[in-house]
C-alpha cells in the first residue's frame, strides 16, 4: 500500500536550536499514527512542516507516493491534509460559523454552513453554537470548533496536536470513537501526544521523538508504557512523592455561598459556591474549561471583588471586599492560567517581573523600586527553582513555558503565602518541569499552607490533590476524597450528569474530613 504521507530526512533549525534533525516517518491510509515526545521534542515543528505552515530546511515530503515540489497551507488543503493546532488558529472577533467559513472553499453561505456545523457537532458529540463569538469560548470549546472545522472538509490526513488535554475522560472516549470511525473510513491520523495511555489505546503505530530526533518506532499496543516512556524521556521519570499530612484547625480559605453574575452574556455565572481549604492540603478544582473556572479564580484572587466581605474569608478574615493587591498583602498567592501577559509581562526581564508581586518584601523605599534587591530576589528564585534562564535580566518571553512557570511559581512561593491559588499549573509545560511544579505544590501544602489547583487535566489532579471538587456550569460540587473516587465519577460530574449520588457520598466524606 502506498503511504498517504511519507517524510524523508526532514530537517529544520532555528537560531540556536535544531528543532528537527533528519526525521523520517510514513503513515498508511487509515492508519492512526502517534508522534510521541515531550514538549520541546520538535513535534509541533514537524507538524507545521507537514501542514506547510513553515518550510523545512531539508528533506522531502511525499503524499500518496508523489513528491511535493513545494508546499504550503493551500496545497495541504488541496491534498486533504487538515490540522487541529494546539494553539488554535481562530479569530476572536468573529463568530464560530464565520471562522469555519474562512477555511471552506467556494462561496460563503453562513446559514447552510451553520446547519452543517450543528449536524457534525451533534454526530461527533462536540457541542458548539455556530453563532457565538469565538472571543467568548473557552479553550475546550475552541478545540471543538477546530475539530469540527477539519471534519467538515472531509480530511484524508488529520493532524491533531495534543487534542485531549482539555477534554473530560468521557469526551476523550467520544473523540477516540470519532477518530476510529474516521480511520475506518480511510482517513489517516497523525496523533501528537505525550500521554502514553492514550497512545496505547488508540494508535496503530508510533514514532517517538526526543530532542528533534527520532528515537524509535513502536507498535504502541504491544510496547509497554515503560519502554515508550524511556524512548521519550531518555532516563526514568522523576517520581512524585506524597507524604501524609496534618490539617490546620480551621480553613485557611473559605468561600461562602458565593454568587457572581457573569459580566458578559457568554461567560459563566457562579452559583452558590462553597469551598473550604485547610492548611496542609491541596484541593483540586476539576472541570471542562468554560464552566466557571475563570470566574472562580477571579473571585478568589480578588480580580473580581465579591458583593459581600464574608463571601471570601482568608484565614478567618473576611476579604471579599478587598482587591487583589490587598488580598496578596494578607497572604494569598495567585498564579494565573496565562503566563505571558497576566502572570508575567512578556517584554519585562525577570527581575522586573519579580518586582511586580514581590515588592512586598521591602523592595520599595520612598516609592522607588530597588532594582538590586529585585535582581537578588530573581536570582534566588532562578537558582532555587531550577529555572533555565540566562539570569535575572532575561526577558520573560524568552523563557520556555516550563521555565517561566517555574519562575512565576517560585516568585509566589517565596512570598510565603498562607493560601496559594494556581490555575493550570502545567499547561504547555514539559514533563520534567511539570513533575517539578507538582512536587513543589505538594511540598508547599505539606508545610502547612493551603493550596488550590484549578486544572483541566484530571491525571494531574489525581496525582497531587487530597480532595477534588468539580465545577460544572458555575456550580461547585462537594469535595471528593481522592482516595475514594474515580476518574469516571469525576468525569460524570464534569458533564453535569453525576447526579446526586456522587454528591451525597461526597457530603459524608466531607463531614468525615472536617471531623
Amino acid at each position: 500500500m502506498t503511504p498517504r504521507l511519507d517524510l524523508r530526512g526532514i530537517r529544520k533549525s532555528y537560531p540556536g536550536v535544531l528543532a528537527n534533525d533528519d526525521i523520517s516517518l510514513s503513515v498508511l491510509p487509515g492508519e492512526i499514527h502517534a508522534v510521541l515526545g515531550e514538549n520541546g521534542a520538535g513535534k509541533s515543528t514537524l507538524m507545521k512542516i507537514i501542514y506547510g505552515a513553515i518550510p523545512a530546511d531539508a528533506g522531502q515530503i511525499y503524499c500518496d507516493g508523489k513528491l511535493l515540489p513545494e508546499h504550503g497551507p493551500a496545497i495541504s488543503r488541496e491534498l486533504g491534509i487538515e490540522m487541529v493546532y494546539q494553539h488554535f488558529a481562530l479569530f476572536d472577533s468573529i463568530t464560530v460559523v464565520e471562522n469555519i467559513a474562512l477555511s471552506m472553499p467556494g462561496r460563503m453561505d453562513l446559514k447552510r454552513l451553520a446547519v452543517r456545523i450543528r449536524e457534525i457537532s451533534e454526530r461527533y458529540g462536540l457541542p458548539i453554537d455556530p453563532d457565538r463569538l469565538v472571543l467568548s469560548l473557552s479553550v475546550g470549546e475552541r478545540q471543538r470548533v477546530e475539530i469540527v472545522r477539519c471534519l467538515l472538509r472531509h480530511p484524508r490526513l488529520l493532524i491533531l496536536d495534543e487534542p485531549t488535554s482539555v477534554l473530560t475522560p468521557q469526551a476523550v472516549q467520544k473523540l477516540f470513537e470519532t477518530l476510529r470511525q474516521l480511520s475506518e473510513e480511510g482517513c489517516s491520523i497523525l496523533y501528537i501526544s505525550h500521554k502514553l495511555d492514550e497512545v496505547r489505546e488508540l494508535c496503530h503505530s508510533a514514532t517517538v521523538l526526543r530532542g528533534g530526533k527520532v528515537t524509535g518506532t513502536a507498535n504502541p499496543s504491544e510496547a509497554s508504557s515503560a519502554e515508550l516512556a524511556r524512548l521519550m524521556v531518555g532516563d526514568d521519570l522523576p517520581e512524585i512523592t506524597v507524604q501524609p499530612t496534618e490539617l490546620s484547625h480551621g480553613p485557611l480559605l473559605a468561600v461562602n455561598n458565593l454568587n457572581v453574575r457573569s459580566e458578559t452574556a457568554t461567560g459563566t455565572s457562579l452559583k452558590a459556591v462553597n469551598l473550604e481549604v485547610y492548611g496542609g492540603e491541596i484541593v483540586g478544582i476539576a472541570g471542562v474549561s468554560g464552566n466557571g473556572q475563570r470566574e472562580l479564580a477571579a473571585a478568589i484572587s480578588g480580580e473580581k471583588i465579591a458583593s459581600a466581605p464574608e463571601d471570601v474569608v482568608l484565614d478567618g478574615r473576611p476579604v471579599g471586599h478587598f482587591d487583589a493587591g490587598r488580598r496578596r498583602d494578607l497572604g494569598l498567592g495567585f498564579v494565573p492560567e496565562e503566563r505571558l501577559g497576566r502572570g508575567a509581562v512578556p517584554s519585562y526581564d525577570l527581575s522586573e517581573n519579580a518586582l511586580l508581586t514581590a515588592h512586598r518584601l521591602g523592595m520599595v523605599r520612598h516609592g522607588m523600586a530597588m532594582r538590586s534587591k529585585a535582581r537578588d530576589f530573581a536570582s534566588g528564585v532562578i537558582e532555587k527553582f531550577n529555572v533555565k534562564a540566562s539570569g535575572p535580566d532575561a526577558k520573560a518571553h524568552g523563557l520556555s513555558g516550563g521555565n517561566l512557570q517555574k519562575f512565576i511559581m517560585g516568585r509566589e512561593i517565596e512570598l510565603s503565602p498562607r493560601v496559594l491559588l494556581v490555575a493550570q499549573p502545567t499547561w504547555g509545560v514539559d514533563v520534567g518541569a511539570a513533575a517539578y511544579v507538582r512536587q513543589t505544590l505538594i511540598d508547599l501544602s505539606r508545610s502547612g499552607r493551603a493550596v488550590i489547583v484549578i486544572s483541566e487535566e484530571l491525571e494531574e489532579l489525581f496525582e497531587i490533590c487530597d480532595r477534588l471538587c468539580v465545577i460544572c456550569n458555575g456550580e461547585l460540587s462537594s469535595p471528593l476524597s481522592r482516595a475514594q473516587t474515580s476518574a469516571e465519577a469525576v468525569g460524570l460530574l464534569m458533564t453535569g450528569t453525576g447526579g446526586k449520588a456522587a454528591g451525597r457520598g461526597a457530603q459524608t466524606e466531607r463531614d468525615r474530613h472536617v471531623v
Binding site: 518550510p55 504550503g72 497551507p73 488543503r77 479569530f91 472577533s93 468573529i94 467559513a101 477555511s103 460563503m108
Partner: protein, 306 residues
C-alpha cells in the same frame, strides 16, 4: 426653514470628501495596515484631477485620473510598508508630506484658475418636490456615489467572504496565513482601495466643492478622515455620522462668522475639529464594542514565518 434646508444640503456636500477618504481608510485599517498618508493621497487626487481637467479630458476621465493618482500614491506606501516592512507610521507620514509636495508641483500651472464644476443633477419629479427635493435630490452625482460606496463597503466587510477574510487578517495575519490566505496581497489591495478613495475625495474638493486648485487645499481633512476612522471604532455607519457632524459644524461656523458672532473666528474655525473628536470619543467609550471591531494587528508589519 430655508436656512435649515440650505445648511442641511451644505452639510451633506461638505461631508462627502470625508466620507470617501474615511471609508477607504476604514478598509485599509480593517486589514491591519495603518496608512497615515491620507492627506497626501487626497492632495494628489485633487491636483491630478484638475490637471486632467485642464488637459481637456472629460470630467469622468479627470475623476479616474484622480483615483489613479491616489492609488498610485498608496502603492508607494504599500511597497515601503508591506514589501519592505518599514515602520507604517513613518511610511504614512512620509506619504503625507510627499503628496503635499507633488500636488503643489503638479498644480503650479493652474493655481486658482476656476474649474467648471460637476453640476448637480436635476432629477425629474423628485428635485421639484418642495423642501424634500432640495434636501435630498439636488446634489451632484458624487454625493450619491458616496452613499453607494458606504453600502458597498458595509456589504463587502460584513456580508462577503473576502470582507470576512480582510477582517480576519486585520485581527491575526499569522492565523490567516496559517489557513492559507495571502496576507500581503490582500493588504496591498486594501491599501490601494484606500488610496483610490482618498484620491476621489481629493478630486471632489478640487472639481466640485471649491472648485479650483489651491495649494494644500485639503486643509487637514485627511487627518480628520483618519480621526473619524479611529473614533468611529472602525464601523462604517459611525464614519458617516462623524463625517456629517464635521460637515455640519463646518457649515455652522461659516454661518456664525457670516452673521458676525462675537466669538473669535479662530475659535469658530477650530470648532468642527473639536466637536467631531469630542463626540466620537464619547460614543466610542463602550470597551467591549471596541475590542470587537478593533483590528488587533493594526500597524504591525506582517512577516510570514519560516
Amino acid at each position: 426653514m430655508d436656512l435649515f434646508v440650505s445648511m442641511f444640503a451644505a452639510t451633506i456636500i461638505a461631508a462627502t470628501p470625508l466620507i470617501f477618504a474615511a471609508l477607504g481608510e476604514l478598509v485599509v485599517e480593517k486589514s491591519g495596515v495603518l496608512n497615515l498618508g491620507i492627506e497626501g493621497m487626497m492632495l494628489a487626487g485633487a491636483a491630478f484631477g484638475v490637471w486632467a481637467h485642464f488637459a481637456g479630458l472629460p470630467m469622468i476621465v479627470a475623476l479616474a485620473a484622480a483615483i489613479l493618482a491616489g492609488a498610485a500614491a498608496s502603492l508607494l506606501f504599500g511597497v515601503l510598508a508591506l514589501t519592505f516592512m518599514t515602520n507604517q507610521y513613518a511610511a504614512g507620514l512620509a506619504l503625507a508630506i510627499f503628496g503635499t509636495g507633488v500636488s503643489a508641483f503638479i498644480g503650479r500651472g493652474f493655481g486658482s484658475t476656476p474649474v467648471e464644476a460637476i453640476k448637480p443633477m436635476n432629477l425629474p419629479w423628485l428635485s421639484d418636490i418642495p423642501i424634500i427635493g432640495e434636501m435630498f435630490f439636488r446634489y451632484d452625482p458624487l454625493v450619491y456615489f458616496a452613499f453607494v460606496m458606504f453600502g458597498v463597503v458595509s456589504w463587502f466587510l460584513y456580508r462577503t467572504k473576502s470582507g470576512l477574510a480582510l477582517r480576519a487578517i486585520g485581527e491575526s495575519p499569522d492565523s490567516a496565513h496559517a489557513i492559507g490566505f495571502e496576507v500581503i496581497r490582500i493588504r496591498y489591495l486594501a491599501v490601494m482601495f484606500g488610496g483610490a478613495m482618498a484620491g476621489l475625495g481629493g478630486a471632489y474638493l478640487s472639481l466640485v466643492y471649491t472648485p479650483l486648485w489651491v495649494e494644500n487645499m485639503t486643509a487637514g481633512r485627511g487627518w480628520i478622515a483618519l480621526a473619524l476612522v479611529v473614533f468611529s471604532a472602525w464601523r462604517p455607519m459611525r464614519v458617516i455620522l462623524g463625517a456629517w457632524l464635521f460637515g455640519g459644524m463646518t457649515i455652522l461656523q461659516l454661518q456664525g462668522q457670516a452673521i458676525g458672532l462675537s466669538v473669535p473666528s479662530e475659535f469658530l474655525s477650530a470648532l468642527p475639529y473639536l466637536a467631531t473628536i469630542a463626540v466620537l470619543v464619547l460614543i466610542s467609550r463602550n470597551r467591549q464594542a471596541m475590542t470587537l471591531d478593533f483590528p488587533v494587528s493594526l500597524g504591525k508589519p506582517f512577516r510570514p514565518k519560516g
